[in-house]
């Protein structure tokens, strides 16, 4: 268990992103606190990926702001992201993790040991010396998780971590997410899998056309949602 971090809560305040006159995020106001994973749901193009990328600092806001731990962000927050389609470096599995550790300024002497721990956590110990790009889709996804965790993040963003994975791989990713979350890492992830949202969510954020429709605790979201969009979503109707 880690001590409550000064990086949380993560707050979006009227955060908007407009690119070439297209509004991708529309005045999002959202507070992400520590605890069980925050799950982002919503149709394609609703802004889930952009919200995660903005929180990661990869896309600038057009308006509004993002704050970490109620402070002005002169110290960068400890955050990491796993993209929907992660890019493996052209190196072995363990070298991919060691690279992330090196970038995170972990002393050389400790890297091998840390990397071995991380690979064990994601169940890839036996593939340590395998070229990362020769691993299967599910294995690459787990390696990407290990690499993201190498940064020892307070907040871990996951963009559809199990999209296009089979049930077995999906389960192993979900198990890792649960383990990581139980250790006190705040997970914020997007998914199209409503069953996965039910299994993992502490709270649910529903986005639609760049706007935040609803943000409620999971128990409430899946039983008595506030909005008709959320009702449509959980009953399996198509929200378009």
């Amino acid at each position: 268990m880690r001590a409550p971090s000064s990086d949380l809560p993560l707050m979006f305040v009227d955060a908007s992103i407009v690119v070439h006159d297209v509004t991708i995020l529309d005045r999002i106001t959202l507070t992400v606190t520590s605890g069980a994973p925050t799950i982002l749901i919503g149709p394609n193009g609703s802004g889930k990926t952009t919200l995660l990328r903005a929180a990661m600092g990869l896309v600038p806001l057009s308006a509004g702001r993002i704050t970490w731990g109620m402070r002005d962000t002169d110290t960068p927050p400890k955050r990491a992201i796993m993209f929907q389609r992660p890019t493996m470096l052209r190196r072995s599995a363990v070298a991919n993790v060691c690279y992330a550790l090196a970038v995170a300024n972990i002393p050389r002497m400790q890297r091998r040991e840390r990397a071995a721990e991380l690979l064990a956590l994601v169940g890839l110990s036996e593939f340590e010396s395998r070229p990362a790009r020769r691993l299967s889709g599910g294995e690459q996804q787990r390696l990407a998780l290990a690499r993201a965790l190498a940064r020892d993040p307070t907040v871990l963003f996951l963009d559809e971590p199990t999209a296009s994975l089979d049930p077995y791989s999906t389960k192993s990713i979900e198990d890792i997410i649960r383990a990581v979350s139980a250790r006190g890492v705040k997970v914020m992830m997007s998914t199209h899998d409503i069953g996965q949202a039910r299994r993992l969510a502490g709270d649910v954020v529903l986005l639609h056309r760049g706007r935040l429709i609803e943000n409620t605790p999971a128990a409430q979201f899946f039983t008595t949602p506030h909005t008709k969009e959320a009702r449509k979503f959980i009953t399996g109707e198509l929200l378009v």
Binding site: M88, L89, R91, S92, A100, P131
Partner: protein, 230 residues
């Protein structure tokens, strides 16, 4: 037919004159590729990653320089190194060093241009991950060069091919002095004009064989490496 027989005999008997010529050719061309790589790879990588006004003009010039006529490069280096030239005091005109310089000038644009393209393609793929990991600019360049290493072998091979094949530059700055600056290509040109076709054909065969062997080695290295690193 008799020409071919004599050529083959020269090769098979390991004629010492022939051996010296082959050795110098390899030494000059490989040194030039090494020098050109030390300049061209980092330059190409920086050009791939940096955005500044005039960048596109540099890329166009670089691509155009890939077709720089060897005699023109040779002439330029000749003027620089000749007694009255700005670098005349070095006194290296008509030496192997001058030949290395001339071939470096020919090869560096090829390596830089191909590196630029390779690194730029890889950067598109790696940009998000490296940005998410907060990888600084210097480490970015090093990472991309390292991860592109097997593709960059092709750039080095292209450079070596050019160096090994050209005659125009080294004949001007080297002078084709027997036992000192005579290489395979300059010797072939000379022997052909003298009418000694046997030696010319023998050298031609050796030259082709060497280029094939070096390409085969690089191919093997690249594939062994890719199997290891993905």
């Amino acid at each position: 037919m008799s020409n071919h027989m004599t050529a083959l005999q020269l090769v098979l008997t390991g004629d010492p004159g022939l051996f010296a010529i082959v050795q110098l050719s390899l030494l000059v061309s490989l040194s030039a590729v090494l020098c050109a790589a030390l300049v061209g790879v980092p330059f190409g990588a920086l050009l791939a990653l940096m955005r500044f006004p005039g960048r596109e003009a540099i890329i166009i010039i670089l691509n155009a320089l890939m077709g720089l006529p060897p005699v023109v490069a040779g002439l330029a280096i000749f003027l620089l190194l000749s007694r009255s030239g700005p670098l005349g005091s070095w006194g290296i005109l008509f030496t192997p060093q001058a030949m290395v310089i001339a071939q470096t000038v020919l090869v560096a644009p090829i390596i830089a241009a191909l590196t630029r393209q390779t690194i730029e393609d890889l950067w598109v793929e790696y940009r998000d991950e490296l940005a998410a990991m907060d990888v600084g600019p210097v480490r970015r360049v090093v990472t991309l060069i390292w991860d592109a290493r097997f593709s960059l072998v092709t750039a080095l091979l292209a450079g070596f091919g050019r160096a090994a094949a050209e005659v125009g530059a080294i004949i001007i700055v080297g002078g084709n002095i027997e036992g000192f600056t005579r290489t395979m290509t300059t010797a072939i040109a000379l022997e052909t004009s003298k009418g000694d076709l046997a030696l010319a054909v023998g050298l031609g065969l050796v030259l082709i064989a060497i280029v094939v062997v070096i390409n085969a080695l690089a191919w093997g290295m690249r594939h062994a490496g890719q199997r290891y690193a993905g």
